[in-house]
């Protein structure tokens, strides 16, 4: 396994090449942030696959509005019922492959990722240095409880799957499209992040971790990996081992 850590600063001068890059944005009740994220990414020329995972708020209407502004760049996939993060990502990735994507990036809809990091996580794929890139959030910036939960998840990922990563729960990832069919993703919830790591390990894919920025707002504080989610993922991992 090839694991190099490169800093996002090194790639800032790279030209933003958006050809063949599909960004999968899973969204569940993200009406406050999803519109601006989709439009900002579409403005940069990326193809956006937004997966509305059975939202009960106005997420779907908002992305419809964004699609009318960028009809060629925005695709909306609507889950009639909520199936969780894992299922939403899977839907988005399968659709991207059908549309002929070369690179598939997953991007959280809550506004915690910086737009320029999309380019940074794609770079190692384009240079041929890696098949999968995970955007690692610097843990020093995290609030204490989040840092603890994420550290715990890294340890558990290491314990169960024997692979050490800087950030096992990051939502910003980039894949070369040809490796996606090899990933067997079954988790529906947040456990999917660890499952990606397991599949990367199992298929001997070349992984690179790129340090990314994380924007902490009230929105992003309330979602993602906290202790309860951590316990749930732990339980899933144990069941997986027993199966």
């Amino acid at each position: 396994m090839n694991k190099n850590i490169i800093s996002s600063k090194n790639s800032d001068d790279a030209v933003e090449d958006t050809v063949g890059v599909f960004i999968v944005v899973p969204a569940f009740n993200e009406e406050k942030t999803v519109g601006s994220i989709v439009e900002e990414l579409a403005k940069r020329g990326y193809k956006i696959v937004i997966v509305d995972d059975g939202s009960v708020d106005r997420t779907y209407e908002i992305v419809k509005g964004s699609k009318s502004k960028y009809p060629d760049n925005v695709f909306i996939l609507h889950h009639p019922v909520n199936r969780g993060l894992g299922a939403a990502l899977k839907t988005g990735m399968i659709f991207s492959l059908l549309k002929g994507a070369d690179y598939v990036v997953t991007f959280d809809a809550d506004g915690q990722h910086a737009f320029e990091d999309v380019k940074n996580v794609c770079l190692p794929l384009k240079l041929g240095n890696a098949q999968v890139v995970i955007g690692a959030r610097p843990f020093e910036d995290m609030p204490t409880t989040k840092r603890f939960a994420n550290n715990m998840m890294n340890f558990m990922t290491f314990f169960f799957y024997k692979i050490k990563v800087k950030d096992s729960q990051s939502g910003l990832r980039a894949f070369k499209s040809e490796v996606i069919p090899k990933l067997n993703i079954l988790s529906r919830g947040y456990g999917v992040s660890s499952e990606f790591i397991k599949e990367i390990h199992k298929n001997h894919l070349e992984l690179e971790e790129v340090t990314i920025k994380t924007i902490y707002t009230d929105e992003t504080q309330n979602k993602g990996t906290n202790i309860f989610v951590g316990m749930k993922i732990l339980f899933k991992m144990i069941i997986d081992v027993l199966k």
């Binding site: 997966v51 996939l77 009639p80 299922a87 059908l98």
Partner: protein
């Protein structure tokens, strides 16, 4: 009914002993017989598989035998190194329940995966359809 009660037998220290049936025994026997008939009937109607039928019929035959001769469980329990017949029944009951829960868990997991596949298919189909319009 009187005849059935009089012909009740039990094994005690290798000897067949005749005596009266307790009320709970009579109730259980009737319940077992009725359930076996019911299971066979729904099997004939094609609503359950042969495997399920055999499983449930065996289970109720076991209950039938145990009701008829409660002490037989003590005999089995002693053979297995467990003190009392009732303990054996409880242990079998708990293990059986755990097994069923595990089976159910796997089944639900399976159904969940199938729902995911359906939802993905529907979402992709609708997106393609919207674009054609």
């Amino acid at each position: 009914m009187v005849i059935i009660i009089l012909f009740f037998s039990d094994v005690e220290e290798g000897e067949v002993v005749f005596g009266l049936l307790g009320i709970y025994q009579i109730l259980f026997i009737i319940l077992a017989v009725l359930t076996i008939f019911f299971v066979l009937k729904i099997y004939n109607n094609g609503r359950i598989s042969l495997k399920t039928t055999v499983l449930w019929v065996c289970l109720w035959i076991m209950l039938f035998v145990i009701s008829l001769s409660p002490d037989s469980t003590t005999f089995l329990a002693n053979r297995l190194g467990i003190g009392r017949g009732l303990d054996l029944l409880i242990i079998i009951g708990i293990l059986g329940t755990y097994y069923l829960i595990f089976r159910l868990y796997l089944k639900i997991e399976n159904i969940n995966q199938n729902i995911n596949k359906l939802v993905t298919e529907i979402a992709i189909h609708n997106e393609n359809h919207d674009n054609e319009k």
